[in-house]
């Protein structure tokens, strides 16, 4: 039994029936705990999920009795279920999508959306989430508890958002998933982001399977798939970060790439351009460039222009500057673009310094490039990235003169 699959499905169903995510969560984790006690002794039941569901419902009822809620219609609704035949899991509708929508409700503090999804839909414990997001576990638990209390007390509906609001809510879910995937301290997608990447990918897949007609849903899934396809190629044996254009493409996962391509073309058919699709297309272009040994920088620069048109993020501006420098073979032009973003507080941003360093190196300004690499190294906590940047810096000082370019 895949616990990742079961947990969210069971919790979503219980929450939907009970209209109380917090109580459902307690009941289900008690059920898992008693499974750990009983199964090794009595053997794993024929339908583990049904067993868990029955146990969780019993726990919910017991809690309701303690709180003297016997007349509550919700309790009466659960009662016949307990005496009935074991539940057939096939007949239980998948309510996880609704649960995702609840987690991303605009009435809930947006900084807790991602953590709520990871906890409620995948059952990841708060300590691990806190660790990935570099938060104190106590502070995160407090915020999660508050959010769950609000879901219960404020009457946040356990239903799909109305058509007029659906797009915004899908956007909020996608943003949270993207946040979970890129949780590391860098905006470079190739940086290992704990192992929440797996979880984000799983939820993105779930979204792509259950939502029809939203191009960005497929766009995000494609983007994450492209990134994931290179996971094994991203670090060498010594654990050093390997940038995309130096990766051994034999290590890429073709099954992921095919799925990504499928989703990206599925998105394109809907003719709703959006940032995730463009970012996925940029990934695809880079990867094709490695295969052809000829990166299509002009096309990549154009994609970045589109991305900037939709939303001028710092990451997109940096990517654009590099692409322009490479496409025109004129690093000075890229440098101008990099300098133009200096105002928006990038002095503490590692990718900006790394980009600057590479352009300075292209221009043969070695001393300045070295300084820029040193700054970039100081601005990342990721050791694999540090080693890679140090290596770039070393290469620079090894090349004796400018003719190395």
């Amino acid at each position: 039994m895949a616990a990742r699959q079961s947990y969210g499905k069971l919790l979503a169903w219980l929450s939907w029936q009970w209209r109380n995510v917090g109580a459902a969560e307690d009941a289900l984790s008690e059920a898992f705990a008693s499974a750990l006690k009983h199964w090794p002794r009595d053997g794993v039941p024929v339908s583990p999920e049904a067993w868990l569901l029955t146990a969780a419902r019993r726990n919910l009822l017991m809690a309701a009795r303690r709180q003297r809620l016997e007349d509550d219609p919700r309790v009466l609704m659960l009662l016949p279920d307990l005496t009935a035949e074991p539940v057939d899991m096939q007949t239980i509708p998948d309510e996880r999508l609704r649960l995702l929508f609840v987690c991303a409700h605009p009435a809930i503090d947006s900084s807790v959306h991602t953590a709520l999804m990871l906890q409620l839909v995948l059952g990841i414990d708060a300590a691990r989430i806190a660790n990935a997001f570099l938060l104190s576990p106590a502070a995160l638990s407090k915020r999660l508890t508050r959010a769950k209390a609000k879901i219960r007390d404020a009457g946040i509906p356990f239903s799909e958002p109305e058509p007029g609001e659906l797009g915004t809510r899908i956007g909020a879910v996608l943003e949270a998933l993207y946040g979970a995937y890129t949780v590391n301290d860098s905006t470079i997608l190739d940086v290992e982001a704990d192992d929440l990447a797996d979880e984000a990918l799983f939820l993105a897949q779930l979204m792509s399977e259950q939502i029809e007609g939203d191009a960005e849903v497929y766009g995000l899934y494609a983007l994450l798939l492209y990134c994931e396809s290179r996971r094994r190629a991203r670090f060498d044996e010594a654990g050093t970060f390997v940038p995309l254009d130096e990766q051994a493409h034999s290590l890429w996962r073709n099954d992921f790439i095919h799925k990504a391509e499928f989703n990206l073309s599925r998105a394109a058919k809907l003719k709703q351009v959006g940032p995730y699709q463009i970012e996925a297309a940029i990934q695809a272009a880079h990867m094709q460039g490695v295969l052809d040994q000829n990166t299509p920088w002009r096309e990549i620069a154009m994609l970045y222009e589109q991305l900037l048109f939709l939303g001028p993020t710092v990451g997109a501006k940096i990517g654009h500057a590099i692409a322009v420098a490479r496409a025109t073979e004129n690093p000075a032009q890229g440098m101008e673009l990099l300098d133009a973003i200096q105002t928006s507080g990038v002095a503490g941003h590692q990718p900006w310094w790394a980009a600057r360093a590479s352009l300075l190196a292209m221009m043969g300004r070695k001393k300045e490039a070295e300084t820029a690499y040193t700054r970039a190294i100081a601005l990342t906590r990721n050791e694999a990235v540090q080693t890679w940047l140090k290596r770039k810096r070393e290469k620079l000082s090894l090349s004796s003169s400018n003719n190395q370019n």
Binding site: H105, A107, D153, A154, G155, I156, P157, S159, P161, E162, E165
Partner: protein, 118 residues
């Protein structure tokens, strides 16, 4: 479940409402809004308040401190509230959205705490 909708607007708006010429159109919008809630059968109660005539009281070291006017530091003054019955927060938020105060100030929505049965 029940929700309270609290309407807050800047002082200028309340002053304008008292103006014999500029006031009526603005108040007509409120009337329409209240009528809509009344017709929907969700209104459970509410009041308009004299937003410009509030007084705040605070006890410091056992001594009463009385201050004119609502809270010099808050720009938006409390001008009224209603209690409505809505099945979900989304429904309550929609009614809040329709309020004229949401354009000129803002509207707070709180679930009313359910009291235990006696």
């Amino acid at each position: 479940m029940e929700y309270i909708l609290i309407y807050r607007q800047p002082a200028e708006i309340y002053e304008m409402n008292k103006d014999p010429i500029k006031g009526p159109p603005n108040l007509a919008a409120w009337q329409q809004y209240m009528d809509a809630m009344g017709d929907a059968g969700i209104l459970r109660g509410g009041n308009r308040l004299e937003a410009l005539s509030g007084t705040s009281v605070k006890v410091v070291n056992g001594k009463r401190q009385v201050q004119d006017g609502p809270f010099a530091d808050s720009k938006d003054l409390l001008g009224g509230y209603v209690i409505i019955d809505a099945p979900t927060l989304d429904e309550a938020l929609r009614w809040a959205e329709f309020s004229p105060s949401s354009k000129t100030g803002f509207t707070d929505v709180y679930p009313v705490m359910a009291m235990p049965k006696k």
